[in-house]
């Protein structure tokens, strides 16, 4: 196995009496696009700033390309960072902003101009080099910020929620551009976002963080298909996974799930004989619940209908349980009416009371 580009082992960090990072172990391979995702306050930005060297590390090791860099100053780590606010120097032109790091290193003017030219061409900024940041659109500023990062030819580029200041359409476009950039230059990227869609679409691997801990760390599709706990199950995927509290009932031969609201469904292809009587949470993705006429598992009352054309989201209630249904096609159902629902038994996720997944 090759040495990972970035390795964090047992990394911890406290602000005052609050432990923000509670022992993180991850490794980022060379050329990987890793995304740290989690709700606000989960420590993802702090972790990124620790890699950048903008925050100190209380304990644990940060290893970059085989070398421990806990105490190496930020500018000597070979790391570049794109800030959420872009932090473009307002008194400098685009060219000066991009070339600033080379200028500080006393690189000859001609060489700076050549490098700025190379980067600006790559990012389609050649026309804007003489402008100041205030004269640029949000997307252009974003590209200047990226240009300032890649001109140093860093081994690692860190992104701190770089798309959160852009409108929805521009965000989709920048997502594509970032992926293209990653494919062309192949840098190691660590990217922080609270938006799981950004994480799913761009990452080669996702680190799901919550309250300063790594909840799960895997490829996007693996996180989607096999979340190891209710937090990851609820966080990854949009719309969210349905999480229904209930009990496992049955005998040694066959088991079923009985929701607290009263409805039951059988649990196929699982050996849960030992778990009978256990309080559990049943997780079902919205696309795994469909309106049906055969093999109906439960009936529910429709509360909200969202018709998107290609698919329809139903918010359906059965007792205290609210189920989100993602039905294919356009369904003209009226709120208040009853709908029969069939569940995809093969796609069930079961979690125990502590929220951990039950296999078997």
């Amino acid at each position: 196995m090759t040495t990972p580009m970035i390795q964090l082992s047992g990394v911890r960090k406290s602000f005052g009496s609050v432990e923000i990072i509670q022992g993180v172990d991850i490794a980022v391979e060379d050329g990987e696009f890793t995304v740290f995702v989690g709700p606000s306050g989960c420590g993802k930005s702090t972790l990124l700033r620790m890699i950048a060297g903008l925050e100190s590390i209380d304990s644990g090791d940060l290893v970059l390309n085989g070398k421990r860099i806990n105490d190496v100053p930020p500018d000597q780590r070979g790391i570049a960072m794109v800030f959420q606010s872009y932090a473009l120097y307002p008194h400098m032109t685009v060219a000066q902003n991009i070339g600033f790091s080379l200028d500080l290193k006393k690189v000859p003017k001609a060489e700076i101009a050549r490098e700025v030219g190379r980067v600006s061409e790559l990012l389609q900024l050649s026309e804007l080099l003489d402008r100041r940041p205030a004269e640029l659109s949000g997307g252009q500023r974003q590209r200047v910020a990226i240009g300032r990062a890649i001109i140093k030819r860093p081994r690692v580029i860190l992104f701190d929620e770089p798309l959160s200041n852009l409108d929805a359409a521009l965000r989709v476009q920048m997502r594509a551009e970032l992926q293209k950039l990653h494919q062309e230059l192949r840098p190691t990227i660590v990217y922080v976002t609270h938006d799981q869609v950004e994480a799913m679409t761009m990452a080669t691997r996702i680190v799901v963080l919550n309250k300063g801990r790594v909840e799960q760390w895997d490829t996007p599709i693996e996180l989607y298909n096999n979340p190891i706990n209710t937090f990851v199950a609820g966080f990854i995927g949009s719309p969210r996974m349905n999480l229904v509290p209930g009990t496992i009932i049955g005998d040694a031969a066959s088991q079923s799930f009985k929701a607290n609201a009263g409805w039951t469904t059988r649990l196929d292809n699982r050996s849960l004989a030992g778990a009978v009587g256990q309080l559990v949470t049943l997780g079902m993705r919205p696309e795994h619940i469909q309106p049906a006429t055969d093999n109906v598992d439960l009936e529910a009352t429709i509360a909200i209908v969202e018709r998107l054309g290609a698919e329809t989201y139903l918010n359906a209630r059965n007792g205290d349980d609210t189920l989100l249904v993602r039905a294919q096609g356009d369904l003209a159902l009226a709120p208040g009416s009853t709908v029969k629902l069939a569940l995809n038994h093969g796609a069930f996720h079961l979690f125990d009371q502590s929220g951990r997944v039950i296999t078997g």
Binding site: A52, G53, L54, P74, D75, I79, A80, M81, F83, Q84, S85, Y86, A87, L88, Y89, P90, H91, F100, S101, L104, K105, P133, A134, R148, K152
Partner: protein, 300 residues
């Protein structure tokens, strides 16, 4: 209906303009008197059109009186004080903005208190402190400079020396300047500095290439306030300076007014006009920075 309201608003507008014009005339009259009297060959205490236009008063200020010296003294002390204020307020305002120390708020209000207290009330203890400091530095310098003692003390003395006046002037202007810079830096995101750190900028480079350009509007505003306020200060140079060759413009003006035999209104007006000019120039330079600073704008 529209006609009535139009008429009414017309009358209101007329009334408003009349009021504003009256107030404006009231405000501008002293300046007009000053300007006219300064070029009037027979200037009097009342407002009148010049008998004949002459620049003799200005010539007199510079040729017969010590006008050049006074002007230079004023400019030197006030500019030095302003420079000190800008440096200290720039660094201090930055520190106060970024610090999370518990004493930050109490400190900020305490320095504001300095500004609120009338400095006249503190004059006697201030003089006593400066006198002690003056004796101290005198004892220190006398063996070093020997025969040049007097001229050196005019530069570095705390009483009857430039240094004392400069420091006290600067101290008086610092609280407001610190507040201006603190509030200004509050509006400058830390991201700029962190980006510069990652770009490989040293502390000095960060200050010179990033922070000072970003802080320029704030520094200009703080410096302008310090300059205008120190330029207008009369009491401190009056108390602290006694040598004629150290006199500043306001003191020269004051002494000219106090002369027993004759009051030369033309000369006084010319002096006052000269005294006004730097303040007006400073204001016109810094006006655009003021707008930037106080409309809260470093939006990038």
């Amino acid at each position: 209906m529209a006609g009535i309201s139009e008429k009414r608003s017309g009358a209101y507008t007329f009334l408003a303009y009349v009021t504003l014009i009256v107030i404006s005339i009231f405000c501008i009259l002293p300046f007009i008197w000053m300007a006219l009297a300064s070029i009037d060959s027979n200037a009097q205490l009342f407002l009148k059109w010049p008998d004949s236009v002459t620049f003799d008063h200005y010539t007199k200020v510079f040729a017969e009186e010590n006008g050049v010296r006074w002007f230079a003294n004023s400019l030197f002390t006030v500019l030095s004080a302003t420079f000190i204020v800008m440096v200290v307020a720039g660094l201090g305002g930055y520190a106060l903005s970024r610090s999370k120390a518990w004493w930050k708020q109490p400190f900020l209000y305490a320095i504001l208190l300095i500004r609120v207290l009338p400095s006249t009330a503190l004059l006697v203890p201030l003089y006593k402190i400066l006198l002690t400091a003056n004796n101290g530095i005198g004892t220190l310098l006398r063996p070093l400079v020997g025969e040049h003692y007097r001229s050196v003390m005019q530069l570095f003395g705390f009483i009857d020396g430039y240094l004392g006046l400069i420091i006290v002037l600067a101290t008086g202007q610092l609280p407001l300047a610190l507040w201006i810079m603190k509030v200004f830096f509050d509006g400058v995101p830390k991201d700029y500095e962190e980006a510069a750190i990652l770009d490989g900028a040293t502390l000095v480079q960060r200050i010179r290439r990033v922070l000072i350009p970003l802080a320029l509007p704030g520094l200009a505003a703080a410096g302008l306030f310090a300059f205008m306020s120190a330029w207008g200060d009369f009491l401190l140079p009056l108390i602290l300076l006694s040598s004629p060759e150290l006199q500043t413009l306001p003191i020269g003006l004051f002494r000219a007014f106090l002369r027993v035999n004759e009051i030369d209104y033309g000369l006084l007006a010319a002096l006052a006009t000269i005294y006004l000019i730097p303040a007006v120039i400073a204001f016109s330079f810094a006006r655009r920075f003021l707008v930037q600073t106080f409309s809260g704008g470093v939006k990038g």
